[in-house]
């Protein structure tokens, strides 16, 4: 029995994962190489830079911005970003008056094709419950202080909708290229727990 077992008769999740994979592979239900492919894809290829490119394009291309807000899945797909958890994308725009932030209260749904897999804090029960109850306080604790006049809208991800925040373009960036702008855009800004700052 492993010293890491949580209960006398229940091996750790690591061991149970290994057991499950070995059984599924033996039965021909999954191939280890296919699993390797998924892991590589999400560790190496898919990440917040995809979302950052979407945001930067929306900042420099007004037609694209309108398409993005009108049909998130379609406009994001124009850049080649699609796949599991990228269906039903809804893009909401931050303004001087409204700040938007995303949560998944039930299970940590997240728009993988544009942001990669979610960070630890997004999956945390405290984030999932408090962002609904006291978003302004929690945003403050996470380093984002909003003026009292700004309305905070919290979007709860669901099977029907995955949200991406279109952050405000920071002032003083009119000289920057689309590529340079994309480098400024952070994952946190696209979840809505931070703003994008000029370099």
């Amino acid at each position: 029995m492993s010293e890491h077992s949580q209960a006398s008769d229940r091996p750790s999740a690591a061991v149970r994962t290994e057991a499950l994979e070995s059984l599924l592979v033996e039965r021909g239900l999954v191939k280890s190489e296919v699993l390797d492919g998924f892991v590589n894809r999400y560790v190496n290829d898919v990440g917040p830079m995809n979302g950052a490119r979407v945001v930067a394009k929306a900042w420099v291309d007004e037609d694209y911005r309108r398409r993005l807000l009108d049909d998130g899945t379609g406009a994001i797909g124009e850049l080649g970003f699609s796949g599991p958890q990228g269906e039903h994308m809804v893009v909401v725009e931050n303004t001087d008056e409204v700040h938007n932030v995303v949560v998944c209260t039930l299970c940590s749904c997240y728009p993988w094709p544009v942001l990669g897999l979610p960070p630890e804090w997004y999956k945390d029960p405290a984030y999932r419950s408090r962002m609904v109850r006291e978003p302004r306080t929690l945003l403050g604790e996470m380093g984002l202080d909003l003026d009292d006049g700004v309305v905070v809208r919290v979007w709860d991800s669901s099977a029907e909708n995955r949200y991406l925040i279109l952050p405000q373009r920071p002032p003083g960036t009119s000289e920057l290229s689309e590529e340079q702008l994309a480098e400024l855009v952070t994952r946190d800004a696209m979840v809505g727990v931070a703003k994008v700052h000029a370099p």
């Binding site: 990440g47 917040p48 630890e120 029960p125």
Partner: protein
Amino acid sequence: MMPAISLDVDGPAAPPRLNGELVFDAPWQSRSFAMAMALVEEGHFTWDQFRDHLIATIDSWESASEGVQYRYYERWQEALESIVTNRRILTNPEIHERAIAYAARPAGHDHGHDGHDHGHDGHDHGHSGRHRH
């Protein structure tokens, strides 16, 4: 009491990554994640069906586990076992039996995949799940 939200993924201790974040804390988490993806892709169940199991396991954990550290991918693995057995792809006893056998291997054989191992680079070299016993 709600635990404090950890922002360590962005802290100076966070390992550098191509896409700016560590997506898996341990190799087994990536295997569990990928198994769900592969089974969905193969049509054994849909993502929404898996999500229902994930929601249920998270919900039951949260109502029963006050004060215990929440570990997302442990719930993910539990949901995966739940849907796999529920849909009669595998049975609970066979998963349990295999896991018990693996857990009983001599020390050092399971590479200490307890969710605390660091230093892996996110690539899938030499982790659990591809050993043959």
